[in-house]
């Protein structure tokens, strides 16, 4: 297949800890097509962040490979930009300088300077940052800061955009605005995206396909094509649709099952002293 952008093959990752070897990921395999938006969800400790860091090349696998366009990933590179949850902006640089950060790196020497500058301006406009281009990050809200982080990652025209809970620190309203914005941006900047989140609604709303990881050790539990309208035509009304809530509900239930965290209702009732209503008999009901 020529349109496979990322191929994850039998990927595993373990760490040596004081309690022994901890396996974060065991034998994970999947493929991401060019231009596809894949979301990775799962209970805490399922290794979803480890997976993203391995794809980024920030960590090296204990076994298996990450192939990008057929070539194994050996370390971080400018073709795989990553957006972090927070604290990744450079506070000594203005918004425009943050977006332009990669332009000054030796990796981009020899590129067309005028075109790069034009791209910075385009991204500032596209992300709604033109008005605050000269401001320092500490004066911005969390949502605006994440816009800068995304624009900075896109400046390099990366093959793959990796996003590690990029909206996890934002409030619900800001997150909705960011969802609209990112779909809008992707309409003009079609990229291959791997997006890690703990918010299932967010994953269903944004992604073409959702990978559910199960913990202990981290492995693929199930893969869900969203089968909703193509991501670029989605609007906020979709979140009210029955198909949307049903899919999100089923994925959430699946994550609960894999986490092994079932609440013991009977024990809870005894603790709180709440009497459960007796099941009515068939005769009473009639």
């Amino acid at each position: 297949m020529s349109d496979v952008k990322l191929a994850i093959r039998s990927l595993s990752k373990s760490f040596a800890t004081r309690e022994g070897v901890f396996t974060a990921l065991a034998d994970v395999s999947f493929e991401v097509a060019a231009g596809e938006f894949v979301a990775v969800v799962g209970a805490s400790g399922c290794g979803k962040s480890s997976l993203l860091r391995l794809i980024a090349g920030l960590e090296s696998p204990s076994g298996g490979d990450v192939l990008q366009g057929g070539q194994p990933v050996r370390g971080p590179g400018r073709d795989r930009a990553m957006v972090f949850q927070d604290y990744s902006l450079y506070p000594w640089l203005t918004v425009a300088q943050n977006v332009a950060f990669s332009r000054g790196l030796s990796a981009n020497r020899g590129r067309d300077r005028a075109a790069s500058a034009e791209r910075s301006n385009l991204l500032l406009g596209l992300m709604g940052l033109a008005r605050v281009a000269g401001a320092y990050p500490h004066t911005l809200s969390g949502g605006m800061r994440q816009r800068v982080a995304i624009a900075r990652a896109l400046q390099n025209e990366p093959d793959v955009l990796l996003m590690d809970e990029p909206f996890g620190a934002l409030d619900a309203q800001t997150r909705e605005v960011m969802h609209e914005l990112i779909l809008h941006v992707l309409a003009s900047e079609r990229r291959t995206i791997v997006f890690v989140t703990h918010d299932v609604e967010e994953a269903v709303y944004l992604a073409d396909r959702i990978i559910v990881l199960a913990p202990g050790p981290g492995r693929i539990d199930s893969i869900w094509p969203t089968e909703l309208p193509p991501s670029l035509t989605r609007t906020l009304e979709l979140k009210q649709a029955a198909a949307f809530s049903s899919l999100a509900g089923r994925i959430r239930a699946r994550i609960r099952e894999t986490s092994g965290l079932q609440s013991d209702i009977a024990a809870l009732r005894r603790l709180t002293g709440v009497k459960s209503p007796e099941p009515r008999s068939a005769s009473e009901r009639s």
Partner: protein, 259 residues
């Protein structure tokens, strides 16, 4: 008064001035009451008079200048060596593992106890004062700067790596730039310590400078002059500290919310 409640800058200033006046007044009252022998505690007026006399015969400025030059030389020598070394230690774990045992040991060495060795090694010239200031500040400076660099948030580093930054670019464009406000703060704090070691050096081996003047005044029981020397050192320290703070505000407007 409530814990951590806000205070208007004008009221802050008023309270600070009142505190200064109260302490000076208390000092004056104690000296004027006659309870304490003026030789043990000269009054503020006597100290002011001595400061005036010392200033008009020209020696005060000469002494203050030579002392300041020694502090600046010793401090700059420490800083020029400590900043690159601290950057490397903060950036690379193996470098930290290699240098930390030595540094942690060295920083507990009593710098003052090195005076005889320093005199033996570099003689009683200007080098001995600079060397003592270096011993007193360098090791602390390296450790503190390496901590400043180690506190740079990991996402700042990793974001640059996924944007294609090389190791050299990470060192100079991310780590050093990000830690710079903290490093300037560290330098400001260690500059105060440099004055302590200067006075020690001048008390032991010098024939000029504020520390030497204090020692000479002791021989003639000129306690008011000792007070002048101490206060002048305090004022120079306060002045440079405020200067460094102003520099910090001017260089790092983006870090203003941290102060």
């Amino acid at each position: 008064m409530k814990i951590r409640s806000a205070l208007q800058p004008r009221r802050y200033f008023a309270i600070a001035v009142a505190s200064f006046l109260a302490w000076t007044l208390g000092w004056w009252a104690l000296a004027a009451s006659g309870w304490v022998d003026p030789m043990f505690l000269p009054g503020p007026l006597a100290v002011l008079r001595r400061a005036y006399l010392w200033a008009v015969d020209g020696d005060l400025v000469v002494d203050a200048r030579i002392s300041s030059l020694r502090v600046i030389a010793g401090f700059l020598l420490s800083a020029v060596m400590a900043v690159p070394l601290g950057l490397l230690i903060g950036a690379y774990r193996p470098v930290r593992a290699f240098s930390e045992p030595l540094l942690e040991f060295a920083r507990y060495l009593p710098a003052v106890a090195f005076v005889p060795m320093v005199l033996l090694w570099v003689g009683i010239g200007e080098g001995s004062k600079i060397a003592l200031i270096w011993i007193g500040t360098f090791f602390q400076m390296v450790i503190m700067i390496s901590e400043d660099v180690a506190r740079v948030p990991l996402p700042q580093i990793e974001a640059a790596r996924t944007l294609g930054a090389t190791d050299v670019e990470l060192l100079f464009r991310v780590l050093l730039r990000s830690a710079l406000p903290a490093i300037v703060d560290t330098l400001r704090i260690t500059l105060g310590w440099a004055w302590t070691y200067l006075v020690v050096a001048e008390l032991v081996a010098a024939n000029s400078g504020l520390g030497y003047a204090i020692l000479k005044a002791q021989r003639f029981l000129q306690t008011d002059k000792i007070f002048v020397g101490i206060i002048v050192i305090g004022l120079i320290g306060l002045g440079t500290d405020q200067l460094m703070r102003a520099l910090h505000r001017a260089l790092f407007p983006w870090a203003a919310n941290r102060a």
